[in-house]
């Protein structure tokens, strides 16, 4: 769902800290027909120009709080990511992205379900990567974005 509209156009930017570029960020929406409890959001499959950035390098900014790692997000079992709200994904990459066009491939990991499933205990013990969840996206979706 909403594969074409998951990432906000024009939102890809480098992130500065203490005068150094430490990574990049972009804005996303929940690619479903509803929001979710934050703990269900497990991060993203992210590739930029073929380079993959695992969940450990990602942080997630929502609800007016500072960006949090997905380990922290996993503990937010009562906080909600509302359907209408844009969030920001931060990706650690010293030096950031070069100016100009980039190809972002993305797959959003949300462990939304409709009840108990045979894989439940297995997924608690060994949480699947975003790509393994097979959520509402039909596949990795690619965006051509520009860093200005």
């Amino acid at each position: 769902m909403f594969e074409s509209f998951l990432v906000r156009e024009g939102s890809l930017q480098n992130v500065e800290k203490d005068g150094f570029i430490v990574g990049f960020k972009f804005d996303v929406r929940n690619c479903d027909y509803r929001g979710c409890f934050l703990s269900l959001h497990t991060g993203y499959y992210i590739e930029v120009d073929g380079e993959v950035f695992p969940v450990e390098l990602q942080k997630f900014e929502i609800n007016g709080k500072p960006p949090r790692s997905f380990d922290e997000i996993a503990k937010c079992v009562w906080e909600h990511w509302d359907f209408d709200d844009w969030a920001t994904v931060y990706v650690q990459k010293p030096g950031g992205l070069s100016k100009g066009k980039h190809r972002l491939g993305i797959y959003q990991g949300v462990m939304a379900q409709y009840g108990w499933m045979p894989h439940d205990q297995e997924w608690i013990d060994n949480p699947p990567s975003p790509l393994e969840i097979r959520g509402k996206q039909t596949g990795i979706y690619y965006y051509d974005l520009e860093v200005e």
């Binding site: 979710c36 996993a74 079992v77 209408d84 499933m117």
Partner: protein
Amino acid sequence: MAIKRGVSLYSYQQAQFLGQMDYRDMARELREGLDCDGIEIINEATVPGYPFPSREFLADWHNTLARYDLTPVALDGFLDTLRFRDHVMTKAEAAELIKLDLQLAHDMGFTHIRTMTGLPVEVIERALPTAEKLDVKIAWEIHAPIPIKPDPTIQGLYCESPGTAVADTVEFIEKTGTKHVGFVPDMGIFMRAPYLSGVHRLIRTLEDRELAEQISELMEEVPLSELGAEVEKRWPGRLNPQQKRALSWKMHAAPEDLELILPYVFSIHGKAHNMVEIPGKPGQYEEPALMYAEVIEVLKKNNWDGYICTEFEGQRAYQDRGIEHLLDEVEQVRRHHEMLKRLIGE
């Protein structure tokens, strides 16, 4: 006693996602575009700060219903069993979530909540005292592939015994005599053909463009219900199993199966993927995949009293492309209500 018309705001999910309509705009469309009064929502789509909305939101909600003279029908909730991340949600925890939805439904004026399909009786039992205290009913959705009549071969989905879940709940209702437990059947269980949206997507995305063309032409020749079988007969093995699924369909329940549970049917999901004009009848529409005429006949014959709420979801199959290719949800729902009005005999 009448069949009444409503809409689940689920139908306008795309307009909401794209910022084109908020719930007030949808409420206005229900009154001014459709002249219906039933409103159903997805809790986690419409209620900011779910499950703890602000008093401002609740006041604005009631104000909006008053402004457009709408009647809250069902609040739809979910069962994300992995939410706690360090353990699988227990049935007792599921009941707590349902109690929160019951309170929310009460505060928003809904008469029942729609829970996940195949909700186990143990969960219902634990939440029932709250349902009775608040006078909000618990109704689980009978959604494909769950049947109405028992079919023990259905396994591995949602709960321990999905194939007999309806019968299990009916037994509980009859044993306890409760008036606060029932069902929301989804029209998607009454299939008569594959959804056109899926067929369109298959034809559009098939790498085998020659086959795509051939399927497209075949649609003019054979009934939609036979399309899958005919493709397999003419071009065996050309579609992989996932592609085949787009053309296949199954009648999970017969319209008359409804009579087995009708006293416990609190509302119905008017599922729709594509509302297409009936050949030779300009301005009249039908959903080629579903048995609306037959189902509404059963409802009328039994003097069923309740809302059919449109649940349009055909939009999703077109969202992998640019904004110019999207389906117009407002138009699709209007067509759906043309059909409902006509079949109900309004």
